[in-house]
Subunit: 137 residues, 2 copies
DNA sequence: CTTGCTCCTCAAGTTACTTGAGGATGTATG
DNA sequence: CATACATCCTCAAGTAACTTGAGGAGCAAG
């Protein structure tokens, strides 16, 4: 039942230092220690660590996760959790739109570069025109 | 012709400390100083700063930008620039695909949350099931 | 001549961790 | 039982790319 930090890390998909780090910043409270001073983790901790891991994968910041965990701990209500998610959704949508535009720009840059100057000198390289058009003024 | 750091920053779209920072890390070399010790910028510097700014907007790292600038300075060839751009393009494509999946997940989470527990306690909040499904085991 | 903006340098803070030093303990093998 | 190797501990510093702040000087306008 009681797991070492290494096992907790493996099961939750975090690295060992990261698990300690989460304890340091207060995302996990009161990790019991064995007589040898080593941390002992139970299922609730693994669950919490997995939640954090997944949320990070989804791009949520530690601050956002902290507020979700407060909901989970019953210290604020579910509406708050929805707010966090919706706010983050808007950010993600925005970011994705930006990436889409960026992707097109990069593609154009690479294609033009390939057509005009691969292996050649930098003088004719269109990348610099693409990236800094009319920079002088 | 000779501009203050404030003007250079405004024209290139960077903040004043950022412009100083780029000098510190060697992206800009040898900024002349006036008799009062203040930095003086000319058009080539503005151009370079604008290039850096745009590249950062495109998501390129300082390391990547440094190698592009080396091409621009004639210290490596154009093919290298294309490689940087293509490598970055692959990263962007990957990232955008991930964001797309994430967007769908967040949307589902918010909808389910809204349907079941807005204003209620966290006990029924589906967000936690969505984010950490079967975390205990 | 005083107010207020801009400039200077140097140091520390930010985010979310990772990496490393230095040392103790646990587990497997000879 | 001894030795090797993995794992654990704490504390400190490093990472990217800047931002923010302290403390002080210069310059232009009213």
């Amino acid at each position: 039942m009681a797991m070492s930090i290494g096992e907790a890390a493996r099961r939750s998909g975090n690295s060992v230092p990261t698990v300690r780090y989460y304890e340091d910043i207060g995302l996990l409270r009161s990790i019991d220690r064995g007589p040898n001073g080593r941390r002992l983790y139970g299922w609730p901790e693994i669950s919490r660590l997995s939640f954090i891991r997944r949320s990070r994968d989804l791009g949520l910041s530690i601050v956002e996760i902290r507020s979700l965990l407060e909901v989970s701990d019953g210290r604020s209500d579910c509406g708050d959790a929805q707010t966090v998610v919706l706010t983050h959704l808007a950010v993600v949508q925005q970011r994705r739109a930006e990436l889409q535009a960026l992707e097109a720009t990069l593609q154009t840059m690479a294609e033009r570069c390939g057509a005009t100057c691969v292996g050649g000198s930098s003088i004719a390289c269109t990348i610099f025109e693409d990236v800094s058009p009319g920079a002088s003024r």
